[in-house]
């Protein structure tokens, strides 16, 4: 007999009828579970494209809502407890304080530098000329330059130390 014909004889092999009936019944009995799953399946797993579009849509919605909330300025009507004028005034006051602080610093920096230079020992003119006197003169000259630079922005008002010096003379 031909090989092909013998191979075709194997088509007569069948599974046990009892098993077949039981297996069929068990498989088809799982129908209800499958139906419960299939309600959600299209939205969650089976359609990849649908899932992707759902994600994109939600991102766009969030972006739009976020954009509106950023653009719209809150008015006192929507927030009764909010005092916009007060907040603005407070913000401006902070800037002024910073300016005043820097002004005060500049005012106090000048007299201190003068005192430091003044504290240096000064030798009499009739003594032998040395390098120290020349150095002190140089420093005083520099100090005078700093004084004029610092005093300039403050204005024409003289400081307390300057007034005392004038009185002492």
């Amino acid at each position: 007999m031909e090989l092909n014909e013998i191979l075709k004889q194997f088509k007569k092999i069948e599974s046990n009828h009892e098993y077949k009936a039981k297996s069929r019944a068990v498989i088809l009995a799982s129908h209800q579970d499958l139906k419960t799953q299939s309600l959600w399946r299209p939205f969650l797993i089976s359609e990849g494209r649908f899932g992707a579009s759902l994600v994109m849509t939600s991102i766009i919605i969030v972006a739009l809502l976020g954009g509106f909330s950023i653009k719209s300025t809150p008015d006192s009507g929507s927030f009764p407890g909010l005092d916009l004028a007060g907040i603005e005034a407070e913000a401006q006051a902070i800037d002024i304080q910073i300016q005043l602080t820097s002004l005060n610093y500049e005012e106090y920096a000048k007299p201190k530098s003068t005192k430091v230079v003044g504290a240096l020992p000064v030798k009499k003119e009739n003594t032998v000329a040395n390098d120290d006197s020349a150095l002190i003169a140089e420093l005083k000259k520099m100090d005078g330059e700093i004084e004029t630079e610092v005093i300039q922005p403050v204005g024409a008002e003289p400081g307390i130390d300057q007034a005392l010096e004038v009185l002492a003379l």
Binding site: I6, Q9, I13, R24, V26
Partner: protein, 176 residues
């Protein structure tokens, strides 16, 4: 098919009746054990039934090829698990070809002997050659269906089929 995909049990029942003998034979050739073949066949159809909503003939894969793919994977998983429990299962592996063909009443004794020889020879083939012999010559799948089931080109299946037949003939001639 559409009814089965949409979850109609009676439609899937018809598909089961038509394809169950083919899948059972295919698995029986692979595992050489009746109860195991029945058990695996049951799992194949259960898996197919549960995955029916996902089946859309993607890439032109026919339903039959899809079933064979599930069956092949099921057998691979079966052997993977079996390898871990080899010692325990060894006792149940005493399968003889006559057990597979014993219930074929309409076959004469001499034919039965021929079938036993061929059965034994097929068992000696490589898994891919076994697959192509069973699909093409026993279950009579088309070249296209076989190619889709084996995830190969039609040309590759033709080559594989030729080699498988050649090897089968060689084995049979060696025995004689």
């Amino acid at each position: 098919m559409r009814s089965a995909i949409s979850g109609e049990a009676s439609a899937f029942g018809s598909l089961y009746d038509f394809y169950e003998p083919k899948i059972y034979r295919f698995i029986l050739f692979k595992v050489s054990h009746r109860e195991e073949a029945e058990d695996l066949t049951h799992h194949v159809f259960l898996k197919a039934w549960q995955s029916m909503p996902n089946f859309k003939e993607r890439g032109g894969v026919p339903f039959s090829s899809w079933l064979y793919r599930i069956a092949r994977n099921q057998v691979i998983d079966h052997y993977r698990t079996k390898r871990d429990h080899a010692d325990l299962e060894q006792v149940d592996r005493e399968f003889t070809p006559s057990m597979a063909v014993a219930h074929i009443n309409s076959i004469a004794v001499d034919q039965n002997l021929e079938m036993e020889k061929i059965w034994t020879a097929v068992q000696k083939l490589e898994p891919e050659h076994q697959d192509v012999i069973v699909m093409r010559f026993i279950d009579e799948l088309s070249v296209r269906e076989t190619a889709k089931a084996m995830e190969k080109s039609e040309g590759a299946v033709k080559v594989l089929q030729h080699r498988a037949l050649q090897k089968l003939k060689n084995i049979l001639s060696e025995k004689v």
